[in-house]
Symmetry: C2
Subunit: 341 residues, 2 copies
Amino acid sequence: MIIDCHGHYTTAPGELQAFRDAQIAAFNGRGATPDVNKLAISDDQIRESLEKAQLKLQRERGTDLTIFSPRASAMAHHVGDEAVSLAWTRVCNDLINRVVNLYPDNFVGVCQLPQSPGVSPTNSAVELERCVKEFGFIGCNLNPDPSGGHWTSPPLTDRHWYPFYEKMVELDVPAMVHVSSSCNANFHATGAHYINADTTAFMQFIQSDLFKDFPTLRFIIPHGGGAVPYHWGRYRGLAQDMKRPPLAESVMKNVFFDTCVYHQPGIDLLTRVIPVENILFGSEMVGAVRGIDPTTGFNYDDTKRYIDALAIPAEAKQAIFEGNVRRIFPRLDARLKQRAA
Amino acid sequence: MIIDCHGHYTTAPGELQAFRDAQIAAFNGRGATPDVNKLAISDDQIRESLEKAQLKLQRERGTDLTIFSPRASAMAHHVGDEAVSLAWTRVCNDLINRVVNLYPDNFVGVCQLPQSPGVSPTNSAVELERCVKEFGFIGCNLNPDPSGGHWTSPPLTDRHWYPFYEKMVELDVPAMVHVSSSCNANFHATGAHYINADTTAFMQFIQSDLFKDFPTLRFIIPHGGGAVPYHWGRYRGLAQDMKRPPLAESVMKNVFFDTCVYHQPGIDLLTRVIPVENILFGSEMVGAVRGIDPTTGFNYDDTKRYIDALAIPAEAKQAIFEGNVRRIFPRLDARLKQRAA
């Protein structure tokens, strides 16, 4: 079985964005707040939005199940306020739940959180619990920078985040560390802000004792861990200079990287320096990069091909494609076992 | 000849930091502004600070010449104001000039700039000209984020920077894109802020027509180009999705990466995906990571070993160690030719 740990609903019907536009306009004093109950998206619309995109690509590429969450760039926690973020988040998560109910064999849900700059993540704990307990979601996307490129929140290792981590531990769900769009002109979203956030989060984890406080807390750092595997010597050396424990002890029991690295040399490096048990298959499709690589003739984000091409044992590939994902997402593992029984 | 394009004076005598401390204290209303003319550092102190560190390592590792600039983390453009930044910058550059005069075969100068948040870089053009014309410096370190981790300046491709670029072009000197310390708790300086800035700058260059406006402008992105080579497929794909020209045309005639990547797999990747002509030897020693890698028994930042170990033609190594550096720094090339004649 091949499980893609990183997919977003980037192809949602236009009505979703129309709702969002109206919501933002209302926040800015133009028009009435849109009524969630009047957001009319039919099951057929959802099917159509997926059949031509994610489901088609699953079939073409030979992947089975995608861990699916709302479009990351559209979370935009910096837009509006806490109430706007909560309403938008619930709409997005509800829609993911409909996707999962329509295609339970193809998708499993991960939720967006109602974060807002300066707001305690306790409200996010409430939404996480709703999605896990009511919908059967198996994880969440946690934004380390709800300000959208101004980085005004405390580091992920600050006690600010602890109430949320307590809920993650209680529910036994991991978080993918995932920023949203950038409102800082310096940072292109998918070309800089995403990758920077990945790198930043990893270094924060090195600096702290977070995983002593939460030994079972688990984070997936997407986009192949940002710059980290390429600079693995730097991170090992920094930890050493700072008299921190080796990364294997202090961080790598709790932190995992996906395979959203869009060329063979990158995946080769990732699997050369990062232990297999810390790597989860992911593609981010349909997502950040949609074109075909002229040097291969295949989509940049067809990351399964890069794993297939690796000269590593079959068991290692199996761990990346399935075993590790099921271990990090125990609620998924339980569901799959139940289904098989 | 082996030229290290990336070295900082991280071992300067303590008097320099004492001056800086007094300067900051005075800015904050505690004590008098220190007198530059009373900053007493002897030639012997300078010799001692280098003989046991950079010069010893040059000899041990077999490198010849280091392109040398003030300590990057100490630039701290976010501290004080424009006048403080200018006074501090001049002191630091003057000291580099003394180093170069004491050891003209071992060091060549690159200057710090008197940047300050919100201040036009025209003042930096004045200091660049002073250092190039009076001292014979061959380049500069340009900080894309003088705010120290808040990223309040416009992107490097904004016309805000054009007056400075005009001076760079006039003097025919490149800039290394190099941030300083971070005053944002999210960003560890050498583990996150530096790498993020490298990644950010490259993506800014992809998005713009800067090099159409300045066809001879040249930037070195240090630390192996941040996350860029590891995500080379992503950057090629993003440029393609954005209908930008291929990177070889739009960016790679003007942008170069150093080899400050502290493990063999990283250097292997760098040289596998980035054209040889875009790679300059650099070590950042004595700098970000000072320890010995237990997996090799050698210093993490002994990057010459990684290049030596590459299975690439001798001419390619020669280009990385010398040829490319002389091409990108024409004032260095002219000096070396003059010296040889």
